[in-house]
């Protein structure tokens, strides 16, 4: 066995996305924002709830997008961070009587720490191995949450019921509507933070690592630090999303946070376009509404419909919603000219 057959050239884990292609232009952003603010005024409470979930999953997908699209690392374990965030918030609200808004930053910080620590071993892993380690984390999470030791706090298998907050300052809007605007505000804040993060020095370091780790370290980037940092930030944002999710659904239980959730979030990212932050909301719409549609087509076949759609996306539009948006933009430009 010569030395040469032990040398492999590694394919890139994730395709490089230029920094400018990661966000929307100002005009489009403002239109989107206007829509998000106005739509809830005209629809029923149940749809408002679904829109809230859309934003929450959008946040979770965004977090994964920062990790994968930004720093080129995988995670099939986002459901674990989501669960930790949800439980942190639920326990603080129900056992410590804390205000729900204050639990969000705490959930974020705890998940940041958890993600940062999990990122330590993940440092030595890349590509497939990282997918594997995080996959195992996601599968193990529900069992950890059911543990007898923590039952006093977590409610064990039964989970915890969370009280839904009322609108403050005597505002005369429904709880659902208040929660929607609250979530929207948090989402916008995090979105702006993420865009700025990716444009900052740290963001550029993430992308350098994604594109070529060795070249990045040669440029003086602390690869270990930035890789774990990306994990931490991603976990932190997922944790905030999980906390919001717990408040919106009013319930946390171990079996809501299985590997299925992690896979959904991963699909959301692929569908929305890896590395394209606004795509997160498209991906989130996909994972919320498509299972419903699939159930409508054939009960019990929703998994298959899901899988087939995913294959279609991979083969026809490998860049997801980003590709669709670019094609649409070009068509629009052509129409304008002609």
């Amino acid at each position: 066995m010569s030395a040469i057959d032990e040398v492999v050239t590694e394919a890139p884990a994730v395709e490089a996305v230029p920094k400018r292609a990661m966000t929307l232009g100002t005009g489009t952003s403002l239109i989107m924002l206007g829509l998000l603010i106005l739509v809830p005024l005209f629809v029923k409470n149940f749809i408002i709830f679904q829109l809230t979930m859309l934003l929450i999953y959008g946040l979770a997908v965004l977090a994964l997008n920062i990790l994968t699209g930004g720093s080129g690392q995988f995670s099939l374990g986002q459901s674990a961070f989501y669960a930790v965030g949800a439980y942190t918030s639920a326990i603080l609200i129900e056992h410590a009587g804390m205000n729900y808004a204050l639990t969000l930053p705490i959930a974020g910080i705890i998940c940041f720490g958890f993600g940062f620590l999990f990122g330590q071993p993940a440092l030595r892993l890349s590509g497939v191995y990282l997918a594997l380690a995080t996959f195992a984390l996601a599968t193990a999470m529900p069992q950890l949450l059911k543990l007898g030791y923590f039952e006093h706090w977590t409610g064990g298998v039964q989970g915890l019921v969370v009280t839904k907050p009322d609108a403050p300052f005597g505002l005369k809007i429904s709880q659902d509507m208040w929660l929607y605007y609250f979530t929207l505000a948090v989402t916008i804040a995090i979105y702006v933070f993420s865009v700025n993060l990716l444009r900052s020095r740290s963001g550029r370091a993430f992308m350098a690592i994604r594109d070529n780790e060795i070249a990045a370290s040669a440029m003086g980037i602390d690869v270990a630090l930035y890789k774990t940092l990306a994990f931490g930030v991603s976990a932190g944002i997922t944790g905030v999303a999980g906390a919001l999710g717990a408040i919106a659904v009013q319930f946390v239980a171990p079996d809501s946070y299985t590997i299925t959730l992690a896979i959904s979030l991963f699909l959301g990212m692929v569908v929305g376009g890896v590395g394209w932050l606004p795509g997160s909301i498209v991906g989130s719409a996909f994972i919320i509404f498509v299972p419903n549609i699939a159930e409508g087509i054939s009960k019990g076949l929703s998994g298959a419909v899901f899988g087939v759609l995913l294959f279609l996306v991979i083969f026809l539009v490998p860049h997801g919603a980003r590709q669709v948006a670019i094609v649409g933009q070009q068509l629009f430009a052509k129409l304008k000219k002609g």
Binding site: A3, I4, D5, E6, V7, V8, T9, E10, A11, P12, A13, V14, E15, T68, F74, L76, P121, R124, L125, G127, V128, Y129, A131, L132, A133, F135, A136, L137, T139, A140, Q143, L144, K146, L147, G148, Y149, I214, I263, F266, L267, V270, V274, S298, G300, L301, S302, G303, A304, V305, F306, G307, V308, L310, F311, I314, F315, P318
Partner: protein, 292 residues
């Protein structure tokens, strides 16, 4: 002391399950450099096919052979149709493809055979083996089949032209093509063999865990843990890894307080991460050097 030996025996017999699964995982990893997250579901589907054949009156070994052939062909078809076009795509796309395959197979199996738990027959019987209460004839048979499979694979890869060509295609595709090996078909063959090995694993496991669409969830994680422990590049390591994981699981369950059935998956997780951190190449794998 007797408890200890008994636990080791029991561990070896559960380990045989993981060893089979790990062997299938490693086979495909060798051929395409990816972990197939749908491996367990493919095995589950094959097992259902054999069950269906038996329901139609085919005797056990007949169903066994037909299922092997079906899985082999099925593996090749999946590779040709779905994964060959993705060969040059980033890892991310491949992982997404495996997950899609997972969802499709799981859901289709549930649709055809529904989610109720089914009994699955064993050809070895389930009497105590050599008078031991802990290990049944089925489990002994399972260990035997795994070992036979490993020996057969060893001979195939070591002494046949086809095996040599497959190894060449996996380790240096370009040079292999220059000497006239059709590397693309070697990959398809790898998929076929992995699917067939997986189906053997499925048919051996089904009498123990019972047949249902989600039967492979926990087994696959342990199979991964075994493959990682033994080294993803070594079929021999995978089998040893499987037995070690089985023993470890049983000993941890007996001697560490608070670790019962409910902590099974976290143990697998801890094991995977520890191995990957301490010795990423596994016990028997060779370290991979990356070209810059």
């Amino acid at each position: 002391m007797e408890l200890f030996t008994n636990q080791i025996l029991a561990g070896i017999s559960t380990g045989a399950i993981y060893a089979c699964m790990a062997l299938a995982v490693v086979m495909i990893y060798q051929a395409i450099d990816h972990l197939n997250f749908a491996q367990g579901e493919m095995a589950m589907f094959s097992t259902f096919v054999s069950w269906q054949l038996m329901q139609w009156g085919v005797p056990y070994w007949g169903a066994f052979i037909i299922t092997l052939a079906f899985s082999f062909a099925g593996g090749i078809v999946i590779e040709r149709l779905l994964f060959k076009p993705l060969a040059k795509a980033p890892i991310l796309t491949n992982v997404a493809g495996f997950i899609a395959l997972f969802a499709i197979i799981n859901s289709v199996a549930g649709l055809i055979w529904d989610f109720t738990i089914k009994q699955y027959p064993t050809p070895f019987g389930s009497h105590p083996f050599l008078g031991s209460q802990l290990i049944s004839t089925h489990q002994a048979g399972m260990i035997g089949v795994t070992v036979l499979l490993l020996i057969a694979l060893f001979f195939f890869f070591r002494f046949t032209r086809m095996g040599l060509a497959m190894r060449a295609a996996a380790s240096l595709p370009e040079s292999a093509r220059l000497v006239g090996i059709n590397t693309s078909w070697m990959i398809a063959l790898g998929w076929g063999m992995a699917a067939a090995i997986g189906s053997i694993a499925g048919m051996l496991i089904a009498p123990v865990v019972f047949l249902e669409p989600n039967m492979m969830g926990g087994v696959l994680i342990y199979g991964f843990a075994a493959a990682v422990l033994g080294g993803l590049t070594s079929p021999f390591g995978a089998v040893i890894g499987g037995f070690l994981v089985g023993i470890f699981e049983n000993l941890a369950g007996t001697y560490i307080p608070g670790v019962g059935n409910e902590l099974k998956l976290p143990i697998a997780l801890a094991l995977i991460i520890t191995v990957l951190v301490v010795k990423p190449a596994g016990l028997f794998g060779r370290p991979i050097v990356k070209r810059v």
